[in-house]
């Protein structure tokens, strides 16, 4: 069969649809390709759950900050410069001895981008969206989190207007640790509520 290796293989239909949209919007002056590249770079390299971890570590070490964070999450988080798309209306919910919070978006996958980056695959999946509402304890067990029966589990459903960030409990044995060291114990999942903050090493 004649095959000219000098040419490219047929591209994916999906990729071509994206190219078509990009060209259309650029030619109509609705989109600047450089702004697209800059945004992608930001999300791939500069925004992620480390941002949220800094917020949590500050709340663990500074009671005044924690008070501000729980009263007005958006403003307190913006003190770090973390703001923008999908971070406009942040509500921070605190885990305590009696309450464990877990966040879901049943509609699609509203998620606090400035503090956590883009959502993981499982957060976007139908099973997580459906099961977290019906059976949050079962979902938590699947993530390896076993909570005693007397802890109340609260499910928060994010939407286009409100996005939630969980303030996990500060682990025991971390009294002497610095804010930076504490931030290292705060995983992405602990801020979604599908994990607890890590215990300190050693």
């Amino acid at each position: 069969m004649a095959h000219d290796h000098a040419h490219n293989a047929p591209p994916s239909d999906t990729a071509m649809r994206v190219k078509a949209l990009e060209t259309l919007l650029t030619e109509k002056g609705l989109l600047d390709p450089a702004a697209i590249d800059a945004l992608v770079d930001t999300y791939e390299n500069r925004i992620g759950p480390r941002n949220g971890a800094k917020v949590v570590a500050r709340a663990w070490t500074d009671p005044e900050y924690k008070k501000r964070l729980l009263e007005n999450g958006t403003d307190a988080i913006a003190e770090f410069g973390f703001s923008g798309v999908q971070g406009e209306d942040m509500v921070v919910v605190e885990n305590t001895e009696d309450v464990h919070n877990i966040v879901v978006c049943t509609l699609c996958s509203c998620y606090p981008w400035p503090t956590l980056g883009l959502p993981p695959i499982w957060f976007k999946s139908a099973p997580y969206r459906a099961r977290t509402v019906i059976d949050p304890r079962g979902v938590l067990e699947e993530f390896g989190v076993e909570l005693s029966e007397d802890i109340e589990v609260r499910v928060w459903d994010s939407n286009a207007e409100l996005r939630y960030l969980v303030l996990p409990q500060r682990p025991a044995g971390t009294e002497g640790m610095s804010e930076d060291e504490l931030a290292g114990l705060v995983s992405r999942d602990s801020m979604i509520g599908t994990a607890l903050a890590d215990a300190p090493a050693g």
Binding site: A20, L21, L24, L30, I36, V40, I121, F123, A130, A160
Partner: protein, 124 residues
Amino acid sequence: MSDAGSPDDLPELPWDAEDGPVFREPWEATAFAMAVRLSEAGKFTWAEWVEYLSTEIAAAKQRGDPDLGDRYYEHWLAALEKLVIDKGLGSETELAALKRDWTEATVHTPHGQPIELKKRTPAG
């Protein structure tokens, strides 16, 4: 959620590594960024975006897509195309013509060279 059945009926949760790539393919990143920039530019509100995206996701579920999150950006793209058309930013005909031109250009460009749109199909 009443139609979702008991927890035991639901499939396992899909997993990804905590530090896996944010986007699996370049087109996912481009599609993501286009929606964000258009919304920032005021071409539609974020609430409108969420409505279109959740409609696509619900439609996929209706079609029997298990929706494990790995096809999320396909839904994203379909929602973006519809919103662009509904907002009058472009037409279906224009998009179809451009898609055809890009496919042609990609297939006929020697490997390793930048792909450019040279031949254009007039839209409409």
